[in-house]
Symmetry: C2
Subunit: 202 residues, 2 copies
DNA sequence: CCAATTACATATCGATCGTTCGATACTAAA
DNA sequence: TTTAGTATCGAACGATCGATATGTAATTGG
């Protein structure tokens, strides 16, 4: 047993890498098998079919992110502090699930009805968490917007796009970049009530 | 000639629809040919290969968007007004190129070196236009940020995400949704200098 | 009107795809 | 030691893929 990961777990690791790099349709079962010196049929033994691999990735990786974010959304904090923490955590956590998230939002198209349902549920869960936190923010008078949902979409767009373009190359440190993105979202959300901000989020 | 569009032009129309719906890898030349009752070989006669179809779409559709945006970015206006106009136009124009833009940002992965270069150039052009407008905004003291580029990315993320989720179904009119998105971007960009905003952009 | 170019079609190629089958090796309980 | 389940494999299936070779009809410029 000279491999750190074995069987099922390793398939997922390799598949995450390949799916995120070449897309779902762009990656064949053979690609995955070859990249880890495993037989094709063995992957089918584990996951049933190709989509099974994708769904396993989705469930496996999204669960952790969603649980973490939900925990924050239920914290007993000042609405603004909770919101800041949520955004910051979402960005930072997403950093470690970068590849997986790229898969979430890249391959929604070519799934079966069942797969699409699972994928939609994930996105709905994440959106709802943000909506809840935003709603509290709104009711506490920190912001004033016509549609909480639109605001949540704007936030997710900014975060997910950040995952696309960020390549630890530029002049700023990862931390500074995060701070800039968080700040953009913060001011965008608070809008004309920006006086609510006493101090920058650290 | 019972068809409104003929030949090359019609291939592009059909390909845009299919690529945006099922992805580049998820759409076969046969799909395109069948959807318009044309022979496979004829598409090859027009575009050389499958990627040729994609590149034709890219060049054809991005050119108009880029030209339009660049025109605005070079207008002799107050920096803030120019910025507002740019965002508003970008969102509205993107609305009509929705499918095409989905293709731009969905299929960057599976292109040849040449195709990737073209695609990158398009994205660089769009980014640069926004950077230029932002820079003027910054120099005029309307905003104060560490990185113009990050700001531009944030804007593009919000806009492109909007194209993903918007489905003329919700309670708000398309116009109102646009206004909300523009407002989010505006406040996000202006940050702690929001007093620069006198009146909402219509 | 005729030659040349363009617009299209049929038929087919070899490669690759997702998937399945049938067989072995290993492992742990009985 | 038998047995049952789990992990793994090689070989092959039919379908579909991108691409091409070889044509014929239509259009057009001189």
């Amino acid at each position: 047993m000279h491999d750190l990961l074995k069987g099922k777990e390793k398939v997922l690791q390799v598949a995450i890498k390949l799916f995120s790099a070449k897309g779902f349709k762009g990656t064949s079962i053979r690609d995955i098998a070859q990249a880890m010196n495993m037989s094709i049929s063995n992957i089918y033994h584990y996951f049933g079919n190709k989509e099974g691999v994708l769904l396993a990735i989705l469930e496996h990786s999204s669960r952790r992110l969603i649980d973490e974010l939900r925990k924050i959304s239920e914290m007993d904090l000042d609405p603004l502090d909770r919101f800041k923490l949520l955004i910051k955590t979402h960005i930072e956590l997403s950093g470690s699930y970068k590849k997986e998230i790229k898969i979430f939002f890249l391959d929604e198209e070519h799934l079966s009805a069942e797969g699409e349902e699972i994928n939609n549920q994930i996105q709905r869960d994440i959106l709802e968490i943000h909506c809840n936190v935003l709603r509290a923010l709104n009711e506490a008078g920190y912001m004033d917007c016509k549609s909480i949902t639109i605001m949540a979409f704007n936030i997710l767009g900014t975060i997910n796009w950040y995952l696309r373009w960020y390549r630890s190359k530029g002049p700023l440190s990862a931390e500074d970049v995060t701070k800039e993105v968080v700040s953009f979202i913060l001011y965008g959300v608070l809008g004309n009530k920006k006086e609510s901000i006493i101090s920058e989020p650290r």
